[in-house]
Symmetry: C2
Subunit: 427 residues, 2 copies
């Protein structure tokens, strides 16, 4: 097969005619498939249902230390849950606060408190003329929604295969006191599936920020979400590295079981230095008496420890790996030889990130919609929804079943061809 980039105009026109025929056939099928969000499939959710066989009217809902999980209290969570979530983040149990059903809410609350009360005795951000966050792109749209909501200026940071551009980050962080944070998804990044290298993690830990209230917002959402048991990415735990570098307070880590047990009905946690933790708990005590300890109890009884988590995640992997591979196969066959798109084959996480020819992403998403495939809006993985090159499309293979995913990937490939041909013919 010949790359479109090497084709003559006549060849491109012929290809276009064929592709349009293909698209017409697809439209006649009246498909309705949704690839927009990183949601687990019903079969994945079925995997954790036996958790509810561990709790009944006969259960003694007490912790090992004797705390009654049914009553008020334990602002930082029960010890069993702190221990479990420490394993997700690669830190000590004493560095953890267990929260409610969503790590997103912890991140939002952390930013919200920084706005009204500042970070570690610093000036509340709402009193500053300008607050800036660094945003590795493409990234997670809900991170950017939080910073946008609070009027924080976002600066795009390019991503490389070993993590974000550290030269650029080091420069901005050390020179500009208005830079107060950076959003990171360090393992199987959303949406590219990139895991930060040890070198990248160490450079993060060694940052010398101009602002004393600068923090790294380390959202380890896919900490245990490997697709392959024998070929998993290993992320260097950042908190110990920050400690070694003399920057123990510089990182806030977040994680959850949203894609381990139930989405929106799991538990979440934050990991951080002792000093950060004490400050956080003091502020949190105004907001809540404590999070749901019964859910913490049942989650820790069910998942037990990191071995239990890994064993459980292997079941998830068995369900979703074929879908990721189907997308990879179809793109490898239909797109790669035509030279009209690239992607990283991820070893985990929830997404495949497609890099189209520049200026084609919006057109591809629009064509897919016409063909019955709902994709995440082009631009969504960027601050303010603006992809400067209009080239990134996030594909979420987990929710549809395998046959649907194969069909959707084929339609997607056809739309990529069609949009790419239009671009090349109009140039």
């Amino acid at each position: 097969m010949k790359s479109y980039l090497e084709m003559t105009r006549a060849e491109l026109l012929e290809e276009k005619a064929q592709t349009e025929q293909e698209l017409e056939k697809i439209k006649a099928l009246s498909l309705h498939l949704n690839l927009t969000r990183g949601k687990p499939s019903p079969l994945q959710l079925d995997l954790s249902m036996d958790m509810y066989d561990l709790i009944s009217s006969k259960s003694v809902l007490r912790t090992q230390a004797g705390t009654d999980c049914r009553n008020y209290g334990s602002l930082d969570g029960i010890d069993e849950a702190k221990r479990l979530m420490a394993g997700f983040m690669g830190c000590e149990q004493e560095q953890v606060i267990v929260h409610g059903n969503a790590s997103l809410s912890i991140m939002y609350d952390t930013i919200a408190r920084s706005m009204t009360h500042g970070v570690a005795g610093g000036v509340p951000w709402c009193r500053l003329d300008k607050v800036k966050f660094l945003c590795p792109v493409p990234g997670y749209d809900r991170h950017f929604a939080i910073t946008e909501f609070f009027g924080i200026e976002m600066i795009n940071i390019p991503m490389h295969e070993d993590g974000p551009d550290m030269d650029f980050i080091e420069k901005l962080v050390s020179q500009d006191e208005a830079v107060k944070g950076i959003w990171c998804v360090p393992k199987y990044s959303n949406p590219q599936g990139i895991t930060y290298s040890d070198e990248t993690v160490r450079r993060f830990a060694a940052l010398k920020p101009a602002a004393s209230d600068f923090r790294i917002y380390w959202d380890n959402a896919y900490a245990v979400h490997d697709l392959y048991e024998d070929e998993r990415d290993e992320l260097l735990p950042i908190l110990p590295e920050c400690e070694k570098a003399g920057n123990p307070d510089m990182v806030y880590m977040f994680c959850s079981t949203s894609k381990v047990t139930f989405s929106g009905a799991g538990i979440s946690a934050m990991g951080m230095s002792h000093a950060n933790r004490e400050r956080m708990l003091k502020q949190m005590s105004v907001q809540t008496i404590g999070h749901d300890k019964i859910k913490q109890w049942v989650h820790t009884r069910y998942l037990k420890d990191m071995d239990g988590v890994r064993a459980h995640m292997a079941k998830h992997a068995a369900l979703i790996r074929p879908k990721f591979e189907a997308v990879d196969d179809i793109l490898s066959r239909e797109i790669a030889p035509r030279g009209i798109g690239t992607w990283i084959k991820p070893k985990g996480g929830y997404f495949i990130c497609f890099h189209a020819l520049e200026g084609c992403a919006k057109a591809i998403v629009a064509k897919a919609k016409e063909a019955g495939i709902e994709l995440t809006a082009a631009g969504a993985p960027f601050p303010y929804g603006i992809d400067p090159k209009d080239s990134i499309i996030r594909i979420a293979p987990t929710f549809p079943d395998l046959e649907e995913m194969k069909q959707a990937a084929a339609v997607f490939a056809c739309c990529v061809k069609s949009a790419s041909l239009e671009k090349l013919l109009n140039n």
Copy 2:
């Protein structure tokens, strides 16, 4: 028995000698009882344990509308839970947003968003020189902690037997644009157990605030927490009254099942006008994808409807009523005839509020502590922890068992006598 206020100095001295002997005997018992917080007892928590027999690996966790409760989504909660919580608040299902495990967090978040983003298009409060809240006193310490945390000035409003002083409220609210809110616990108020009269509710609904972003923060924490089935207080639902008065947006209502099922592991909700609700959901969408729908599912299956809730609450009442009555009996016998304290015998809620002679509350709490009884700090039910008359003590009878409660009440009465005698003798 003679009132202390009518005793001669010699009689008071004789009484003091006797009381001190009593106190010495009590101290010799080395008691350790805690009456500080409004926590349900383990037996109360046992009442709801069969809720967990309604969920197992075999459960189909779908709503009637077909939503999978195990996956992301439903920012405002599932319909079944909205319907249930509407019953708590006396409003329509369409006026409800179901939240997480704590109404306290909803209140905090509502204030926090008002600080950073304003209310309904108004100026964010963090940009104003002064924001004031009205605080009926005595009141709920955690309300005051929220407003204090955000630097909001709190103004004490006296409570009467039919609710807060409406003349004073009408004056302040209509004249001062800096007054942005008022904290209310309208039924079985914390700590006095007062239910606002229909007239009070109607005057609230008809307020004419100077500030367009003024809101009534209506924390109906004890909506269904009656002690007597045949003699319950009825609270007029405020939202319909606000609608009639042309002020539909003026009230935010809050409630939860924290003291119905499990404390910190129940569900909570907010009720409000359509316009308020739309604004709230838009802001909430940045903070969370949705709250725990599995918990909503199991709660609605368990409690079913308001009849189910009333039947369940009757079981709570049967457990806690004897404790409230024991306190009332002992105070009626030991304190009332001596003229050294008053209280309202509550028909529901979680507290008995003792009004000691002026200047005696701190001394009573200190004496109780020496005698092995931990009481809520004197002053706690007031903004900034300052009781201007040093006379209010909140007693929380629910957590200890009946015998402990009787013992604690007797010790408390002895401490009241002792502190009152010291005051009278020093005058």
